[in-house]
Symmetry: C2
Subunit: 232 residues, 2 copies
Amino acid sequence: MAKQSTIKAAVFDAYGTVFDVHSVIELAERFFPGQGKGLSQMWRSKQLEYMFLRSLMGRYVPHDENTEAALVYCCRQLGIACDAERRQQLMAAYLHLRPFPDAIAALDALSGYRRAILSVGTRPMLEEMTTYAGVRQKFDELLSVDDVAVYKPHPDTYRLVTDRLDVSRSEVAFVTSNYFDVAGAKAFGFNVFWINRSNAVPDELGLLPDVTLDRLTGLADAIRRFALPPPA
Amino acid sequence: MAKQSTIKAAVFDAYGTVFDVHSVIELAERFFPGQGKGLSQMWRSKQLEYMFLRSLMGRYVPHDENTEAALVYCCRQLGIACDAERRQQLMAAYLHLRPFPDAIAALDALSGYRRAILSVGTRPMLEEMTTYAGVRQKFDELLSVDDVAVYKPHPDTYRLVTDRLDVSRSEVAFVTSNYFDVAGAKAFGFNVFWINRSNAVPDELGLLPDVTLDRLTGLADAIRRFALPPPA
């Protein structure tokens, strides 16, 4: 039997998918010339590692605390003197990220669907970020892993979508740039749209996205095509 | 009340703690001159990431399969043509690691304690590695996370020690070079000895080792001192 899907909801990852973290890298480079890019890369890597480790140990902390801890570690490890004020400014930059240029049109083209964010950020972080960027009203729901106190890619985080939006797994188009999120969402049973902005190769986790795009442009068309009834 | 501990068992992490993975790096550099070190670093990093991600998704695979998947990914991402034979040789090198020079004396000095390995490697991998290196008889038990189908730092992995060695948490001296393992073992309630060979800073996870050494030399003394009754 040929597959037929009815997509009811488009659910987006936030960091790196809808919102561009590049402004944080710029600020880090301005604070620490020549070291900002290296710091940002290690910071992102440690931020993820701490998310995974804390989830596995059953020692969840909210994402702002987790992100700041990762920053403190990286500065110590790299021997960068980052005082409290600069640390606070870097953390504040995380709250005021710009959406990618292709995000607004993609969200508008999906206005016929329920639109939501599922993010590792806390609810206050997501409210602040979407409001500051002027895109809050484009989302019906802002879902935060903080409500289940564990990080992606644990299945409990994806269950927030089916519980709160009252949709089934196969009715969800899940959109993310982060491969660990592709894997987690696919393992949970969503239809997964991978936004592969950096031309990366898929991770070898035995889980592949349904559709791959190089940016959000064309997402609405891709979701519609995906849900088309099979040819008679 | 002053702390008093009775240590009954010394439990070691294997990879990077008792066994030196440097020979794998050498082989990678021999196969791919100029790229081997970068490949090895990314391989280790991906190997850990896959351990954590698979554990969080409830999709455990044994460590040999996980390690090979990470290698395949890294070669693809770096554009390194690694044929099946070279891949097999790199995997075989993982089974025939040398113990660190300081490991043998440290293990011998602890012969009065129960000695065990708790590793992410499978039982066959650990049997092969310890036998090939001639240190199998120095361990009473080789414990593998494969028995609980989840990776460190999940608490179920550390529970293998208290279950199989019939000791309490406070009777265990847990020895590891890997900070995620320090954190997991400490969260579980072991006395943790961090072998900080690379002069790293502790991760910001709210969990610190009880004792830090720069190599295994002096470990037996450190464990005895740790367990001394407090001065009257």
